[in-house]
């Protein structure tokens, strides 16, 4: 167990980098995913098609492939990164955006038709209907699944550790190499820091879900 206390500085550094990766990718994915969802329900056929193709392909692509592409293939195509973090953020946000888009779309579909009809009947345009009436209600329903996607994002960020980013998992691998005799405790420590993020978020999702369920 001493090894955990001894390595606390590394754990802390990895913990902060994991949070950073998840937060930045999460924000990018939220914006991109909402735009994709808006494209998916828009009257313009080309945008609908593009959004559908993107979501279908990315949701069925393993995350490791996305990382492999960003970290190994892109640099050989001439897109080089100063830091591996940037490749990780690209892979994570491109991947997560597809899931956010699906969640937002199902949220849009859960809003009663009458809401949109009422908005249209008082003369609102598509953009107004979407931004003023539908999305605010839809986002409310999709907050619990959205939190679950963010939990998955935190866990997914561990893949970055395998692609030269020193976040929690990356440090875990390194520490396990350095402390061959106490591998178990090293990894238990890593697990603890992941649970420190994911378990409270899961609890939050559960609470919000109950609140929304009562309000409807």
């Amino acid at each position: 167990m001493d090894v955990i206390i001894e390595s606390l500085p590394q754990y802390w550094d990895g913990f902060l980098r994991t949070l950073f990766l998840a937060a930045v990718s999460g924000i990018i994915a939220l914006v991109a995913g909402t735009l994709l969802a808006a494209a998916r329900v828009s009257p313009v056929a080309a945008l609908r098609g593009f959004s559908m193709a993107y979501v279908e392909v990315v949701r069925n692509t393993p995350l490791t492939i996305a990382f492999f592409f960003a970290a190994v293939v892109l640099p050989r195509l001439g897109v080089t990164f100063q830091q591996f973090e940037i490749a990780a953020i690209i892979a994570l946000s491109a991947y997560t955006a597809a899931f956010i888009a699906e969640a937002v779309r199902s949220g849009v579909n859960s809003v009663p038709v009458g809401q949109a009809e009422a908005a249209r009947s008082i003369g609102m345009k598509f953009g107004q209907v979407l931004s003023l009436i539908i999305l605010p209600q839809a986002l409310r329903t999709v907050i619990p699944p959205m939190i679950n996607i963010l939990i998955a994002l935190v866990k997914n960020s561990s893949v970055a550790g395998a692609f030269y980013v020193l976040e929690l998992f990356g440090y875990g691998k390194q520490l396990a190499n350095d402390h061959g005799d106490a591998v178990m405790w090293v990894l238990v420590g890593v697990a603890f820091f992941y649970l420190l993020i994911t378990v409270p978020l899961g609890y939050l999702a559960h609470q919000v879900e109950r609140k929304v369920a009562i309000a409807r």
Binding site: V41, P43, V44, A45, A46, L47, F50, E56, V57, R59, N60, T61, P62, L63, T64, I65, F68, F69, V72, V73, R76, L77, G78, V108, N109, V111, V113, A116, R120, F126, V129, L130, I134, I151, K155, N156, S158, V159, G161, A162, F169, G172, K173, A176, V183, M184, L187, V190, A191, Y194, L195, T198, V199, G202
Partner: protein
């Protein structure tokens, strides 16, 4: 679906949307063209780079990779499902000292990255990377399966359990013979969708040096030279996506089929009863 947001378009709206479509197509085409031009500048489309797919060795390596991917996924799924059922039964047990520890274990398993579990099994138990991959997938997915089936059981009408208990079944018999079969059937689409996740997660085996598809690509690129990385990677990614899309379609098909049956039977029965009472 789309009719939620806008009326059936008239001539003017159709024209606007047509113009929008054309602009959208042009923009997306321009983006694609730019990507293809950039790739072409790197010499990606030279015929010699793709000629390797004429060699049988390349395909046999890819086939080995696919085989390793599917083997890990299939074995993990076959072990994880019964384990998930067991965990679900323990999670909803009437006995507190079974229920509470199971709940803690499930929270723990669900909150951890799969790749961390794989690494843990690999290093702590000094196993082969195949066993590490399967063990990681089993631990995580059994927990998810348990939660899915639990949601299924909780979605059943209360009367199912009450009726079982009323005819003298024990709590466990009622769970096993009445609730569980219905819950599994109800949650079949979610369970199949989770199989896609499981299949995708086998690619994490790459990180613990398991010889799955992505690792086969890496090995091939190391052997043939970096200029072949893109073609081999492209083909491997396409194969992965094709397999996963097929399983996703299966999930959607089961969902449609199930919802048709449910509409005729179980789901409508209570509403029909209520409406007759009101009338």
């Amino acid at each position: 679906m789309s009719s939620v947001l806008y009326d059936v378009p008239g001539p003017k709206a159709r024209r606007v949307s047509l113009i929008g479509s054309v602009i959208g197509v042009v923009l997306i085409a321009a983006l694609l063209a730019w990507a293809i031009m950039t790739l072409a500048q790197q010499g990606i489309f030279q015929a010699q780079r793709w000629a390797i797919f004429g060699q049988a060795d390349v395909w046999s390596l890819i086939a080995n990779g696919i085989g390793a991917t599917l083997a890990a996924a299939a074995i993990a799924a076959v072990i994880a499902f019964p384990l998930g059922l067991l965990l679900c039964l323990m999670r909803i047990s009437d006995v507190a000292w079974i229920r509470i520890p199971t709940r803690i274990v499930l929270e723990f398993l669900r909150g951890m990255p799969v790749v961390l579990m794989m690494l843990f099994v690999l290093l702590v138990f000094a196993t082969s990377s195949f066993i590490a991959v399967v063990a990681g997938l089993v631990l995580y997915n059994a927990a998810i399966f348990a939660e899915i089936i639990r949601a299924g059981i909780q979605s059943l009408p209360r009367g199912q359990r009450e009726a079982g208990l009323a005819i003298g079944l024990t709590s466990f018999q009622s769970r096993l013979t009445i609730e569980l079969p219905q819950a599994v059937r109800r949650m079949l689409p979610s369970l199949v969708a989770q199989l896609v996740v499981l299949l995708k997660d086998t690619s994490l085996g790459y990180i613990v040096a398991y010889g799955e598809l992505l690792r086969a690509v890496q090995v091939m690129a190391d052997f043939l030279g970096p200029q072949f990385l893109f073609p081999v990677f492209f083909v491997a990614a396409a194969i992965y996506i094709a397999i996963n899309l097929a399983v996703s379609r299966l999930a959607i098909w089961i969902e449609r089929r199930g919802s048709k049956k449910a509409a005729g039977g179980v789901a409508k029965a209570p509403t029909a009863g209520v409406s007759t009472v009101v009338k």
